[in-house]
Structures are given as structure tokens and as C-alpha cells.
């Protein structure tokens, strides 16, 4: 298993795209911090970039990579290697390389300009979000054999989480504005890894006071250690659930 991970990891690192991704993230991050006059604002600017581009790159790159390595997977399957090992190694190799790209690109400026708990939070969340979207990519790539369809599903899922979901939430808040929906909103926010990440960072940026009563309720939940642990567990579930669904599908798939 380790040898397969190593092979995939090195293969991706040799790929120029991840390198380019790292450079682009670095450019975003450096410019965000040097244009804003304080690091909290730099973090806020970077937050939007990270919550938009990181999932996009992770999901697209992973989907395409899986389709492209179909022959490699078939080759491995002819060897005495378990299917679980192959799929898992592929997942770990892809996640590792993309997380490494994120940590080098965005992590270094964050550590230099904002070495606070918010900065570390940002690094943790960026890494987890990367892995979450790699897991979702695995799911969408296993659903269909058609490459175009698979990539299409990936893009739709990204659009849904990055844009549509918030639109839906906005719609719902207006529909149910007569009811005390603050607590329900916490549950709803758990339905999108991007939303839960954004709220976690914002609450640690001391803008929670601006959120008034809603913010107070969020702070009561997300601000406590238990809330923090629960939200990280939810994020980890966002990795585990899609990946294990794809794993069971892969195990029974007729290749």
C-alpha cells in the first residue's frame, strides 16, 4: 500500500498542474495579505479565495486523475493487491499531494502574516476542505464510467456547495423568517462543508459580535470546545461518508 501511495504521490508531484496550483494560491495569499492593512482582513479575503478555489481544484483534479488512471487501476487489479488497498492508496496519494500544495501555497504566507489561532484554523480547514472534495470527487468518478458525465457531476456538485446551497439557505431563511430558526440553521449549515468552514473561521475572527442574536447562538455552539469538536467531526464525516460509499461501489464494480 505504501508503495502505491508513494508512486501516486510522486506521479502527481511531477504533474505541472499541482505546481501551478501552489504558485497561484501563493500569489493569492501574498497579495491578499500585502493589500489589506491588517492581517484579520487579509484572512477574510483569503477565506473567500480558499472556500471557492480550493474545492474547485480539488474536485476537478481528483476526478480527472481517477479517470485518467483507469488503465493503471486495471493493471494493479491484475496483481495480487486488494481492491480496498488500491482505492485507499489512490485517495491518500491524491489528498496528500493537494494538501501539500495548499500548505505550501497558502500556508507559508498565513504563518508569516497571521500566526494566530485563526491562522492555524485556516490551515486546518483548508486541508480538510481539500480532502473533503477529493472524497466527493471519488464518489462522482465511481458513479459513472463516462468521463464527461463524471466531470460534469463534479462541477455540478462544486457549484451546488459553493453557490447554490447558500442561495437555498437564503431562500429558506426568508420562508421561515417568522419562526425561531437559529438553531435549525446550525443543523442546516452542517449540510455543506463550505458553510461550516466559513462559519468556524468567522466566529474565530471576532466578527461574531456583528451577527447579533444569531451570532450569539452560533458562538454558543461553535465557540465552545464541544461545538468545535462536533464541527470538526462533521467535517471528517464529510470525508468518510463519500469515500466509503465510493469504496463499496468500487469493490463491487465490474471494471
Amino acid at each position: 500500500m505504501n508503495r502505491i501511495i508513494k508512486f501516486i504521490f510522486l506521479d502527481i508531484l511531477k504533474n505541472k498542474i499541482v505546481l501551478l496550483y501552489t504558485v497561484l494560491l501563493a500569489a493569492f495569499a501574498w497579495s491578499a495579505f500585502s493589500l489589506e492593512d491588517n492581517s484579520a482582513k487579509g484572512i477574510l479575503t483569503l477565506l473567500n479565495v480558499i472556500l471557492l478555489t480550493v474545492p474547485l481544484v480539488a474536485i476537478l483534479f481528483a476526478t480527472i486523475y481517477i479517470y485518467n488512471s483507469a488503465e493503471f487501476i486495471e493493471l494493479l487489479l491484475s496483481q495480487p493487491v486488494k481492491r480496498t488497498t488500491i482505492w485507499f492508496s489512490l485517495f491518500v496519494g491524491l489528498s496528500l499531494s493537494l494538501v501539500l500544495g495548499f500548505l505550501i501555497g497558502a500556508g507559508i504566507p498565513i504563518l508569516i502574516y497571521a500566526p494566530s489561532d485563526v491562522g492555524f484554523m485556516m490551515l486546518a480547514i483548508g486541508s480538510i476542505i481539500t480532502v473533503v472534495f477529493v472524497a466527493i470527487a471519488f464518489l462522482s468518478a465511481i458513479i459513472t464510467r463516462d468521463k464527461a458525465k463524471g466531470i460534469g457531476i463534479s462541477i455540478m456538485l462544486w457549484l451546488y456547495f459553493a453557490l447554490l446551497f447558500d442561495g437555498l439557505v437564503l431562500f429558506l431563511t426568508f420562508q421561515f423568517s417568522d419562526y425561531p430558526i437559529e438553531k435549525a440553521m446550525i443543523v442546516i449549515s452542517a449540510l455543506s462543508p463550505i458553510d461550516i468552514s466559513r462559519i468556524l473561521i468567522l466566529l474565530h475572527l471576532d466578527v461574531s459580535a456583528m451577527m447579533g442574536y444569531t451570532g450569539a447562538i452560533f458562538k454558543e455552539f461553535f465557540g465552545t470546545t464541544i461545538g468545535l469538536v462536533i464541527s470538526f467531526v462533521i467535517l471528517l464525516l464529510w470525508i468518510a461518508v463519500p469515500f466509503f460509499i465510493s469504496l463499496t461501489k468500487f469493490k463491487h464494480k465490474d471494471l
Binding site: 492593512d37 482582513k41 477574510l44 477565506l47 473567500n48 472556500l51 471557492l52 459553493a162 453557490l163 447554490l164 447558500d166 442561495g167 439557505v169 437564503l170 431563511t173 426568508f174 423568517s177 430558526i181 437559529e182 440553521m185 449549515s189 458553510d195 466559513r198 462559519i199 468567522l202 471576532d206 466578527v207 459580535a209 456583528m210 451577527m211 447579533g212 442574536y213 444569531t214 451570532g215 450569539a216 452560533f218
Partner: protein
Amino acid sequence: MKVILLSCLLVFFSLMEAKTIRVGSAQSYSKIKPALRSVENGDTLIVEHGFYQEGNLVIEKSIVFIGEGLPVLDGDKKFEVLSIKANNVTVKGFMIQNSGCATLDDPGGVKVYGSNDVTICDNYLYDNFFGIYIQYGKNCLIKNNKIIAFGTEEQQIGNGIHCWKSDSLLIIGNNISGHRDGIYFEFVTHSVIWRNISYHNIRYGLHFMFSNDDAYFTNLFRSNGAGVAVMFSKKIIMVNNSFEDNWGDAAYGLLLKEISDGYIHGNKFFNNTSGIYMEGTSRMQVLKNVFKSNGWGLKIQASCMDNVLENNNFLGNTFDISTNGSLVLNTFNENYWDKYTGYDLNKDNIGDVPYHPLSLFSVIVEKNPPAMLLYRSTMVMLLDKSEKILPSLTPENFIDNKPLMHALAL
């Protein structure tokens, strides 16, 4: 005959002459209370350095009461420390501490009962229920006092400087912290508050109720529980003050409620959750202020009318302005908005395109607070952008027709 008359006059004047009485361990009076009983109008009472715990001290004559080497007057947490019940009294240079705590008769470190021309200056008030309390005072001067308490709950602590039904007060250069309200005015008229620092008070740094024709200049209000509140008052002038770091769920830099005909000029609002919150406010002139790094620069409710906002700088606020209705009866002109993206072809420093300072998201949040969940979401930013170009939900007449291209030097 002349000689007799002259000597009579001399005798008369010598009887009239003011005495100076000293209180101290080496003096004939070692306690203040007996000394206070022996003074006449116009006398000077000098208290030497020491610790004086004599219950409630009452000044009933017009005297000058001076502490030498900061003598301590202690109320033992039971008594009002110093009560002034005469006109023309000066209290200077004391450390006044540990007044009693009672919500029925509101004991203070120093309390003035219906007196004119009282001067309270250069004192250090430490851990009193009320710091300085003036009721029915007139022409009083409160200057350069340091007032510190350690209140934790609103009900268990009084105000730093509390003025009630008074007129023509001067409150200058005091430093107040840890009380309920730093400075509190109720039914106080024609008074000036100048160069005070009020910080870390539980409720408001400065609080006006039913007080007309007052002014406050060049004060610093920082990190108070809810900022500064000016309510139910008319003709208040607010110039050159700083309102900073009032950050919290119900915190405002300046809260204006049911007030009119005031003048807000050259103030600085930094790092507040809301810079100014206006409700039921009319005919205010808000000119040349700086709103910087606030959550909301200005919350102006639809119940406000005929207010004029001109030549203000709005810099780096999350929302520059928000309102709760579609009715706009206020005028915005020639302000600088850092979010303005228009152009200026004739280079007269006035943008050629009018500016809509109200963002869609601020309107949404005002109507529906839980939507704040979507703060900083990409979707919301896209909605905001399209709303800026084609306003549909935000009131169309909420507009600055002459936005400035460059920030004013304020």
C-alpha cells in the same frame, strides 16, 4: 471720632476674617468631624496626610476643603463619604474611598445636595457606589478627578459622575472607569463635558436622559459595555470625541434615541459594532466625522427624519449603512465612501455617478437576522454586486448624489 470708627471697623473686619484650620495628628484637631463643626463660612480646612474613617462627613458651611498629601477619607463600605449641603464649597486633593452601597438613597463618594458653585477637583475616588453625585446643583465644576470602581453588574454599582436636575455644570478632564455609566445626565441643562476619558464602564461611557442644551467636546469613550447613549434630549452638541472599541452584541459607538436638533461634528468612530445607531432622531447635522473599521458605520432607522449627513469619511466598515425600511427622509451628500467605484471625468473631486451606500445584504440581514449565517458567502457577494448596478430591493432614494472621490483630511 474717626479713630473710633476706624478701630470699630478694624475689629469688625478681624472678626470677619476667614480662619484656616488644620486637621492632622499633630494639630489641635486630629479628626475632621469636630473641625467641620467649628468652621464658619469662608474658612479653609486643610486636612493633612492620613487615614480618616469617620462615617459620613457633612459640609454645611461655605468652606474650602483641601487635602494635603492625598489624605484618605474612608466610608467603611457603610456610609456616604462626603455630603455637601452648602454653596461655594471647594473639595480638593482627597482620596475618597469605599462608600456604602444602597439602592434606596444612592450614597456617593461625594454627593452635592442642592448647592451652587461647588468645585470638586483633583480627587481620587476609589471603589465607591456612586463616584460624584450632584442633585439640584448649579454652576458646579468637576475637574481632574480620577474615578475608579470595579462593578460587575449594573444593579450593584452606581455611575461615575451622576448629575440630576442640575444646570450649568462643567465636567472637565476626569478619568472614569468601572462604574455603571461613566457620566450620567438626567434633567441637566446648559452643561459642558470636556476632555474626559471614560472606559471599561459596564453600561455607557456617557449617558444623557431628558437633558437639553448640553455639549460634550474632545472626550474619549473606549470599550464601554454599550458605548455612549444620548436619549430623549434636544440641542446636544457633540464635537471632536472619539468612540472606540465598543464591540459586542448590543454595543454602539453612539446611540441616538428620540433626540433632535443636535450637531455631531468631527468625531471619530473606530472599531465599534455600530458606529452610530439612530432611532427616532430628527434634524441632526452629522458633519465631518470619520467612521472606520466598524461593523456597521451608521444604522439609521426609518423613524429618523430630516437628518443631514455631509462630508463624512466611511473607511473599511463591513457595512457602511443599514436601515430597516424603505422610507428615506434623510439627506446624504458629499461623503467619502471607500466602497465607491465610480469615476470623475471633470476632476472636481465629486463622482459623476451617484452612490447607493446601502448594500443588499445589510437590508436582508436587517429584515431577517439569521441570514447573517451567509455573511461573506460568495453567493451573497454576487447578489450585492448585481444589486449595486440595478437597485431593486434597496430603497432607490437612499443615495449620495455627490460622493467624493478622495477621503477628506479629517
